[in-house]
Amino acid sequence: MPLLSARGVAMRYPNGTVALRGVDLDVPAGRVTALVGANGAGKSTLIRILSGAARPTGGSLEWLGQATAFRRPVDARRAGIATIHQHIPLVPTLSVAENILIDRGGIARTQAGDREAVAALLARLDARIDPDARVGDLGIGDRQAVAIAAALAVDAKLVIMDEPTASLAGHERAAVYRVIRQLADEGRAVLFISHFLDEIVRLSDWVAVLRDGGIVLDAETDALTEADIAGAMAGRQFVALARRERAGMGEPRLTVEGLATPALAEPVNLSVARGEIVGLAGLLGSGRSELLHAIFAADRHATGLVGVDGEPVGRSVEERIAAGIALVAEDRVGQGLVPAFDIRRNVALPVGGGWLVDDEAERAAAARAIETLAIKAQGPETAVAELSGGNAQKVTIARWLRPHTRVLLLDEPTAGIDIGARSEILRLIRGLADEGMAIVVASSDFAELLVLADRVLVLRDKRIIASRDAAGLDEDTLILLAGGSAPQGSAS
């Protein structure tokens, strides 16, 4: 009897998006199950349902053979499911011991035996961490260990880990692998999500591949190769746009020489021609955003030469913008929009122009943007807080659609956006390139990159590991390059 089994679990959001269309999944004790899937395949939704953070709109869950419905995360935790989210929710100002025992009852802040209990837990994980250390002072790998120890402290029968290694360095990953194996050997079930195919093959006993809200592959790992898994992940039902061969490129427009920053493992040299679209393929934490921020000088520690149309450009965001470089950042809410502003003022935000606000000109520009980008809004005065994700994203792009812009850097421009808006954005990017812009677009949606880009640079572990012509490339290969063991041999 499996510890946890999902039968026909479906999730349909009120806005009509179907995230899961009937998932069947068994998680037996003593086994490491890897859950794999491309972005938007429904992984996070499934995790949210299993951990009690969301209730499915269809299907049922069985826990220890009994039908169960978790109403709140705490229900799942009491039942014995510990979830370690990608962004580990620890309290940085409390000690390791206090974090591990955070939901222990009782009155006294420290009780006799606490230290020993925590030390025993940490010893089981082979983690050399002082129980009295402040969590805020720990490295990210140690924090991961603390989160796992907290899961053990409540004696979880099932441990769910969402991309536990995405932000870890090699030796830290090895520690996590050891812990995962150990949990399984103790008879617990582990469900872990990863994009790294090599670690999936090495670590898991069973692989479940999720694609477009359904399980498309559910098999023992030993019977599979990395290529099998990549093949199952790829081949999505829709690709927003068909690939189109594009005319020859012009002169080099953006040139980057010896661009170095502490956020990247090695200096980057890059040249992007007029009308060329360069894709940056990489997983979370691969360094794709860091590269874009370095080119834009938003990373203050970035050094090296950046030139536009042969002219060297100074090392500040202002100078980069003045030279015609623009960045559409990954986090629309945190880095893109001013929530209190309407569309008009958000579009007019970048520096340049005169001293006085020209209402009519701005309104006309915003109205033009609304029309050309098909932004669904009442008008230029609509607050951006009222816009949906896709429309908000269009506003952050619209900001840079001025004749002045010559180089456009886009970081995950279609993340979290519905298919309709997605294809509009892709079409727009292609149109801008046709007009002569040099475009660098980072994305973890490889199918999309392959449709859009002329050339793809693959990033992994903060360095560019491959540069390929997009025309002869397929998604499987790209998945293997970015997350498999193909190119380097050893990734851990």
Binding site: E318, A329, G334, Q335
Partner: protein
């Protein structure tokens, strides 16, 4: 979702509440005064007096609003004002009033620069930094004055000070003409915006109407204390810069989303430091006015005023999280606080209840803004 709501919202509590509150408060006080057989509340003398009393807090409140818009906080304004007052009184007999005035303003701006630099370049929380300068600058005042009251003896300097602070400026024609012009602009804008269904600038309309009514009611001989004129000019300039210029836009963007502003090429640090400099400058100016009022100051002058200034900004609906605020509403907030004080005086209610009532008013206002704001987002 629709902008028609935005249009209607301009009349809602969240957007226009502070104007309703002042009108309601004045109406209540006028009725109470009439019922108690006191002289009419709406007299030129009484209303001018309220504006005069509110002017120093209003001037500092305008700059405080800009600091709050950028997402920071300045607790040191009252201490800085006291230091500027001490500089003015101490230096006037030596280098003459005009130069001493410049020195006082420079002192204020300089401390603002120090505040801004420490907050933004070292990265210490503004609350802590300005709490420190609040105490340290007050200590500096004590050192400079040796703990004693300062006084101007020189009659020329005293005359210059009175001219700087006490003159009355003829206000009938300026108020009437400006008011009518603003009213015309406002009505035109209102018609256009109403047709387009966009949010209105209610402040402009109300301000214009008040100016015209005040001028007509007071008659052609009407003269304003020059301090009130300073307040009006400073508020008008700040309001225009904030609403009509790119610089103003960037202050809001800096507080609304600093990272988005930075990635749009805005020098966020410069704007944040600039707001502190403006705050110091305004405090210096207010301090100079305070010193000139009596030609004297004592070292504990204006103690605690920073809280009144912040209360005025909060009454005016300025967000403590940055990105939103209106200098006109802050000045109206200051008027509310001083109307309350004035009301307690004329109704002879005793000062004991004053703090209780003022504090409650501030909390109620904040509650209305918070709840109203939440509904606004939900709508």
């Amino acid at each position: 979702m629709s902008d028609a709501i935005g249009w209607r919202r301009s009349f809602g509590l969240r957007e226009a509440g502070v104007y309703y509150a002042l009108a309601l408060l004045m109406a209540v006080l006028a009725l109470a005064a009439a019922a108690n057989g006191l002289p009419p509340y709406f007299s030129t003398g009484n209303l001018t007096n309220i504006a005069y009393q509110a002017s120093l807090v209003g001037i500092m409140g305008v700059a405080m609003t800009i600091v709050l818009i950028t997402g920071a906080f300045d607790l040191s304004v009252a201490s800085v004002a006291a230091l500027a007052a001490a500089v003015l009184i101490g230096l006037s007999p030596v280098i003459g009033f005009p130069l001493a005035l410049v020195a006082a303003l420079a002192t204020g701006a300089g401390i603002g620069l120090v505040n801004g630099a420490i907050v933004n370049l070292i990265g210490i929380n503004a609350f802590i930094v300005t709490l420190g300068t609040l105490t340290a600058v007050r200590g500096l005042v004590m050192v400079l004055t040796d703990g004693r009251s300062l006084m101007v003896e020189d009659p020329t300097v005293l005359a210059q000070m009175l001219a700087f602070e006490r003159t009355r400026v003829p206000a009938f024609w300026p108020l009437l003409l400006l008011g009518l012009a603003a009213l015309a602009v406002g009505v035109g804008m209102m018609l256009r915006r109403r047709r387009q269904g966009r949010a209105l600038r209610l402040g402009l309309m109300i301000g214009a109407a008040v100016m015209v009514i005040a001028a007509l009611a007071a008659g052609p001989g009407f003269a304003l204390p020059v301090t009130v004129a300073y307040l009006l000019v400073i508020t008008a300039v700040a309001a225009l810069v904030l609403s009509r210029t790119v610089v103003g836009r960037r202050f809001y963007a800096t507080g609304g989303n600093a990272e988005a502003a930075r990635l749009s090429g805005i020098d966020v640090t410069a704007y944040k430091i600039g707001a502190f400099v403006l705050s110091g400058l305004a405090a210096g100016f207010a301090g100079a006015l305070f010193a000139s009022r009596l030609g004297a100051m004592n070292p504990t002058a204006l103690q605690g005023t920073e809280l009144t200034v912040i209360a005025a900004a909060i009454l005016g609906g300025t967000s403590l999280f940055g990105g939103a605020g209106s200098v006109v509403k802050t000045v109206v907030g200051a008027l509310i606080l001083f109307t309350l004080t004035n009301g307690f005086n004329i109704l002879n209610l005793g000062a004991s209840y004053q703090g209780l009532v003022e504090g409650t008013v501030v909390i109620v206002a904040a509650a209305i803004y918070t709840v109203g704001g939440r509904r606004g987002v939900a709508a």
